[in-house]
Amino acid sequence: MRRSRYIARKITWALITLVFVITLNFFLFRVLPGDPARAGIHDPRLKKEAVEAIRVRYGLDKPVINCFQTLNPVEFGDCLVNPLETQFFIYVGNLLQGELGISYHTNRPVSSMLGEMLLNTILLIGLGQILAIVLGMLLGILAAWKAHTTIDYAALLFSLTAWSLPTFWLGIILLFIGSSQWGLPIGGRITPGMTYENTWQQIVDMGRHLILPTITFTIVFLGEYMLIMRSTVLDVLSEDYILTAKAKGVSNFQILKDHALRNAMLPMVTIIALNLGFTVSGAIQIEAVFSWPGLGGAIYTAVGRRDYPLLQGAFLLIAVSVIFANLAADLLYSYLDPRVQET
């Protein structure tokens, strides 16, 4: 089908998913148990007036949506109230302005808190994924090349085991070994209080803090990429035209490069896109173990403190990122696959 039509469909679909996520995000927190006004402060020393004042400040005294005052417990309200005065539309309106609310815990705007965290997470995930992809592909090609030999089985076993490791467990073990044996930092993003003479030192410092989390990430994810690469290369190399090419005297290396790799791109992109969900799970665990100040760590601590605005904001940000990454993958897909299938 025509690429432009494909792209248009994909974009429309991404937007619909976005709307769904935004709606889900909002109602999830209104339906599930918990009183947001008391969420941050469990000490009953908080006076009733203070609770009321907090409720008003966060707009929690307004009806959730037309016909419903609150959703948990369900309390009916005025159906004819101005929709723009309901929590839902206020929420949407704020979203369109980039406002994600105020954190219950820190009283700072959620958007400013998350902005930097997003970058930190992207740095961590990005580095880890790139390494995992590269190493996975190399390993996969090697395994396919030497299919059904000891090397292949060793690589397979390694990859499958790596995939089976609980990310946080691997992280804890690496943290322990890394810090006691190799003198790597225990956690965090940079060494606090350290003064840098130039940018290079800053990069070096951050790099040192990135080593262990990135290694953890890479190990857990390279297994899958290795397996995909291996099976694709194996498939391709079994095709008849490979035999022809070899008979014509093309070198193995050339064959691998021109045929195997090219055909592997498509499934690789598919898997990378599909993996985005797991990547988030991995990010949450790694950031928790290594005290890395990213979105995953934010979710982890916000869950503990019932900081609903931060949770909502972080979840939304993650979902939006994944949606866009998927869209990007789909678009990339459309360029790689000349047939451009419709799903």
């Binding site: 020393r45 820190t106 592909m137 080593i211 760590g297």
Partner: protein, 574 residues
């Protein structure tokens, strides 16, 4: 293909480089982390204009949390209060032995009727931005706290204030509505804010206060939430100029990471650690572990639902507590079936003292140590229940009410964000099981727990805790009848004599008489057993002996991150 190989190689090389390149900074433990910095390049205040000949000496402290807000009115966590203590001054300073010393003021006069308190401020007090601190700032601050209804905690300390005035630059006059015995403990948390900054703020409840301009011995250099806080010392502080040049507080998300950081020398002191690591850390060279009563005493309690039907709050109350808990004999048996030492051994690794009353032993002046506790005696507990008619009529190992119905099965709940409580719950279940009482254990998220606790009273037994003020007045209020409908009373306890004494002690000016009243209150409450206090937690902290010396470890309470230690420590070898 080649490009891919090269790329991978480059990345690996880069990682190797940074791993090796950074090696030097952790090897030398004797000096600071960073390179020499020209102070002029990062100077923000006039004091640092002259380049210092040596590297800045910073103490690096590791902790598990992070200040939630730099606005003294909004902060809830202990980490936030640590910051307020260091960067702000208040009228009094709480010493490690529990006494109060004058901080901002050099003199205090009180009128005959105890209603008018006149403070004379010291000379030379300035804010971090150079502006002088005057009585006007103090009056402004106190009035601000009193007016801000959505500051969670601080307004309560101004409850008894009638007026606060500043007749001149150095005099503050506070007129109370009633004479109270503990004005020091009220004023110690009222951190004085600069009027010239805060009067310009639209809504103090939304003010982030990232610069944290105060008058304390430390000032803010950099703050990254959940990562670190960097403070510079105020070398010309009017009262306690620190000997070090600065302090860095680094947040670690896991307790093991904290311990590891101390062992490897990444930090010089840690404010918390898992009790299980004490032994191994004590064996570590150059590390000293200190344990003792915490400066801010905390309390973990076992709450029994003793809400009488007539006290059940009209609108919110559900009051579904098990009827057996209304019988003192049952509660007495439960108390005798609680093995406090075992709980201390397992949950705290022995680092705690057996609990007694709601007033922790960390407040020695008010703690009634003369009360005899209910010893762990399962046989006696069984006897009590037998005599009271709670027999196991159907032989299933669980006793029933005297009329044969309603087996003694209690719901046992605790907040899910703690790892101490599950272990405590296990131990309780086990030892109470031995006297024929069964428990249904369920961890609940803190919100749900609040919802079922108070003022709904929809539970049987709760495990929870409090943080205490230096003055026990608040903790004592938790057991008054008045607080049942407000949600502050957790147990629904009601005793007329106790209520009467509570009112009296609030305005009793003679300390001895007040202590007598508070002791009597503790006796009454201990007799009625609305709470079983399993233990009083100890503070467990550690520091490196090869970096800084002078930590205050034997002044009564332990809090190494407090201002009392931080202004006196200096590098080892000086």
């Amino acid at each position: 293909m080649i490009k891919r190989y090269l790329f991978a190689l480059c990345v690996l090389l880069l990682l190797l480089l940074v791993a090796c390149g950074g090696q030097d900074t952790i090897d030398d433990s004797g000096s600071t982390e960073g390179e020499v910095v020209e102070p002029a390049a990062e100077a923000t205040t006039p004091e640092e204009a002259a380049p210092e000949p040596s590297e800045p000496v910073q103490v690096r402290i590791g902790w598990g949390g992070s200040p939630d807000s730099l606005n003294p009115g909004l902060g809830v966590l202990t980490e936030a209060y640590t910051m307020y203590e260091l960067l702000y001054d208040s009228m009094y300073q709480l010493e490690l032995d529990g006494s109060y010393t004058l901080e901002l003021a050099e003199d205090v006069q009180v009128s005959e009727d105890g209603l008018v308190w006149t403070y004379t401020l010291r000379d030379g007090v300035t804010f971090h931005d150079g502006e002088p601190l005057t009585a006007a700032d103090v009056a402004f601050t106190y009035n601000l706290y009193a007016e801000q209804v959505d500051f969670p905690f601080l307004p309560v300390y101004t409850d008894y204030f009638d007026t606060v005035e500043a007749p001149d630059d150095k005099t503050v006059v506070i007129t109370l509505s009633e004479a109270i015995p503990n004005i020091e403990s009220q004023l110690v948390f009222l951190y004085v804010l600069p009027e010239h900054i805060w009067s310009q703020v639209d809504n103090p409840a939304e003010f982030e206060n990232l610069e944290m301009i105060g008058s304390g011995p430390f000032k803010m250099r950099e703050y990254k939430q959940n990562e670190f806080v960097i403070l510079d010392a105020v070398k010309d502080h009017y009262l306690y100029p620190p000997k070090i040049d600065g302090a860095v507080f680094q947040t670690f998300d896991s307790q093991d990471a904290l311990v590891q950081a101390l062992k490897t020398g990444q930090v010089d002191m840690i404010t918390e650690m898992p009790n299980t690591a004490v032994v191994s850390l004590r064996n570590e060279p150059n590390v000293e572990v200190v344990t003792g009563p915490p400066l801010a005493p905390s309390l973990d309690d076992i709450i029994l639902n003793v809400t009488e039907p007539e006290n059940c709050p009209a609108d919110d109350g559900v009051c579904s507590g098990h009827p057996a808990l209304l019988d003192r004999d049952v509660r007495l048996a439960l108390a005798h079936a609680t093995d406090k030492q075992q709980i201390i051994d397992v949950v705290l690794l022995g680092l705690g003292s057996p609990g007694l009353t709601l007033v922790p032993d960390g407040l020695p002046a008010f703690y009634n140590s003369s009360i005899e506790d209910y010893a762990y005696d399962p046989d006696l507990a069984n006897q009590i229940l037998d005599d009271a008619g709670y027999l196991d009529t159907d032989g299933d190992g669980v006793r029933e009410m005297p009329d044969g119905a309603n087996p003694l099965v209690f719901r046992l709940n605790w907040p899910s964000d703690s790892t101490k409580y599950p272990r405590t719950a296990e131990l309780l279940s086990a030892s109470w099981g031995e006297i024929g009482v069964e428990t249904e254990q369920q961890a609940l998220d803190p919100d749900t727990l609040t919802a079922i606790c108070c003022p709904t009273f929809d539970y049987d037994v709760l495990l929870w805790g409090w943080g205490s003020d230096p003055d026990p007045a608040f903790l004592l209020s938790v057991m008054t009848t008045d607080e049942i409908p407000t949600g502050t009373s957790e147990s629904g306890y009601s005793n007329a004599e106790y209520d009467e004494l509570y009112v009296q002690q609030a305005t009793e000016l003679s300390l001895d008489k007040r202590i007598d009243m508070i002791n009597r209150m503790q006796e009454i409450a201990h007799h009625d057993i609305p709470y079983i206090i399993p233990y009083y937690d100890q503070a467990v902290q550690a520091f490196r002996t090869d970096r800084f010396q002078g930590w205050l470890t034997d002044a009564g309470k332990i809090e190494l991150s407090d201002i009392t230690s931080l202004v006196v420590i200096e590098p080892v070898g000086q």
